[in-house]
């Protein structure tokens, strides 16, 4: 079996870190590069965190490309649950690995152009605001030909928002970029809060995952513990939703997810509802559905998948 070529566009971020560390030990995936963007933290920080995560996972072979330093149109907002560094209280060594000269936008364009030519199309895994992807698409619309699909953590459909009443953070942080991406004909899988709120990383899971994660056990356990929202009223238990890792889980094991197809629109004009994602479940808009929205997650299956993957860090050979 040939590996699926992916690019991880992200804003690490604790849950990004867990997603990336999972991807590192999944031979089904060929990670062409990591493209941090301004999001949970300012760009400088998300780049540094991405470099540190590569070193933590012993995957310094994967290039990291710095993305856009601000959202397209709105002032930047940052995440609220990732601590000062973006990785909670976890202290990782200063990275030796350095960021590539090429920008994330140029990396996306060149990779997708090459993929369009070769026919080996790329899956974009987006874990942060969509600024890099939107800028690349506006510069070179033809790169859509090289994208197999976008599997995105973003949006909230039947769930309420997590940053505002209506809106999920990644979309709210750059609603114009999200609008650009959702206005293309690229196939999209949306892992929204509807999905991620079905998979809560409880303290019990944290203990189990980190306990089996070998040489990354300590930092992984710290980050997971920091992730606990301690909001039983919203999430039904202690713990935090496993947002970004579900994107990697979807690419690895789509059978654990149920989806429903709909056209998706992004509110980018109203301040009250800024960043709201609206699904046309019943064909009211007259537009073709373009997004597979994850509606149901086999949470047990997903926990087992992560346990299997993260425990590979206890093996001598990572890959």
């Amino acid at each position: 079996m040939t590996a699926t070529p992916i690019i991880i566009d992200c804003d690490p971020g604790i849950d990004d870190a867990i997603a990336i560390l999972t991807a590192f030990v999944s031979p089904e995936l060929e990670i062409l590069g990591i493209a941090p963007v301004c999001g949970n933290q300012p760009l400088e920080r998300t780049v540094r965190n991405a470099l540190q995560i590569c070193e933590l996972g012993e995957r310094s072979d994967i290039p990291v490309f710095a993305g856009c330093f601000r959202p397209l149109f709105r002032d930047p907002i940052y995440g609220q649950f990732h601590g000062e560094s973006g990785l909670g209280n976890t202290v990782l060594a200063d990275p030796i690995k350095t960021v590539e000269e090429t920008s994330a936008v140029d990396f996306l364009i060149k990779s997708c152009e090459a993929a369009a030519t070769s026919g080996r199309k790329i899956t974009l895994c987006t874990l942060g605001p969509l600024t890099n992807v939107a800028v690349a698409l506006r510069m070179k619309p033809a790169i859509a030909e090289g994208i197999e699909r976008i599997v995105m953590m973003g949006g909230a459909f039947r769930e309420a928002g997590n940053r505002t009443m209506t809106s999920e953070f990644n979309i709210l942080a750059d609603p114009h970029a999200a609008h650009i991406v959702f206005s293309t004909d690229i196939p999209i899988v949306a892992v929204s809060l509807d999905a991620t709120h079905q998979v809560i990383l409880t303290p019990e899971h944290t203990e189990k995952f980190s306990g089996s994660a070998g040489r990354i056990a300590k930092p992984l356990g710290e980050m997971m513990a920091f992730w606990d929202r301690n909001d039983v009223r919203r999430y039904g238990s202690r713990g935090g939703p496993l947002h970004d890792p579900l994107v990697i889980a979807y690419v690895l094991a789509p059978h654990l997810f149920e989806t429903q197809k709909a056209r998706v629109f992004v509110e980018h004009e109203s301040e009250l509802c800024m960043g709201q994602t609206i699904a046309d479940w019943y064909g009211k808009s007259g537009k073709e559905p373009n997004v597979e929205i994850v509606t149901e997650v086999d949470a047990k299956g997903v926990y087992d998948l992560f346990l299997d993957r993260l425990s590979r860090y206890a093996l001598e050979e990572v890959r």
Binding site: F73, V135, R138
Partner: protein, 322 residues
Amino acid sequence: MSPHRIIIDTDPGVDDAIAILLALASPEVELLGISVVAGNVPLEATLANACKIISLSGCVDVPVYAGAHGPLVREQVYGKYAHIGAFSDALVPPANVRPQEEHAVDFIVRVTRQAAADNDPITICAIGPLTNLALALVQHPDVARGIRQIVSMGGAFTALGHRTPWAEYNIYADPHAAQIVYSSGVPVVVMPLDMTFQALITEKNIAVIGENAGAAGAAIAGLLRTFDRSDMQRFGRPGGPVHDATTIAWLLEPEIFEGRAASVGVQVSGKTAGYTYADFYGKTGLPMNATVMNDIDEARFLEMLEERLSIYGARALKEVSG
């Protein structure tokens, strides 16, 4: 004085052509490159036109870069003279230059970041929708640091719009990009319709340029005569505006313009999307991000076009006489 190092970001366009030819006729200006954007006509046509203008000027070393195919967020609208499409070979001879491989946005990012590193920022004359510039500005903070000023043909304040009653075309075509550029922290010199409507080129000027300015003059005269820009009802006298050329004229002779500091912003959505507002009196408390030109010495501007463009005639004569 060292010349102004500039990039012209453009969607040619008849008045774009005059702006580019004026810049290339002026030793005070060093044109680093032409970044092309969709606007007046689709990108394929603006790009073809840019290559034709560069060929016509004889300055074939000036690189031309293809940029954005359309606006950031809104749906695409073309200019009032969209039916021009690509300039016909009868009006402007075929091009002998080709666009570069590099994308216009990458070109702007590369040149401005280098300018920031060298502490020698450049000027950008933006005479089309501002999509390319916006896409460059979000990519790295050094892009803004590498730009001394943006001379932007765009907007309408006390004048009514020309594309819609409330909006000037370049802003209307991509209001989000305009707002990104105007709020980027780079000082903006705005050339709005209020001012450009005051300087109308007439048949008398066109005849002089057509006669004295060689092949460039013939093409300009042909374009201006084919696509008559006059509007008696609006201007009350014969002649048509040459909007884009005012950006270059301001670099050459700023003293023939009058302007005022203002805080300028763009309405990006709703019925009046593309509307530009200027706060001259600090009512909003927002930073004075722009100088808005409200007056131009029409006679001097037209004389400048006649004088400067005649160099193309002189250059042609020199070539003939060896």
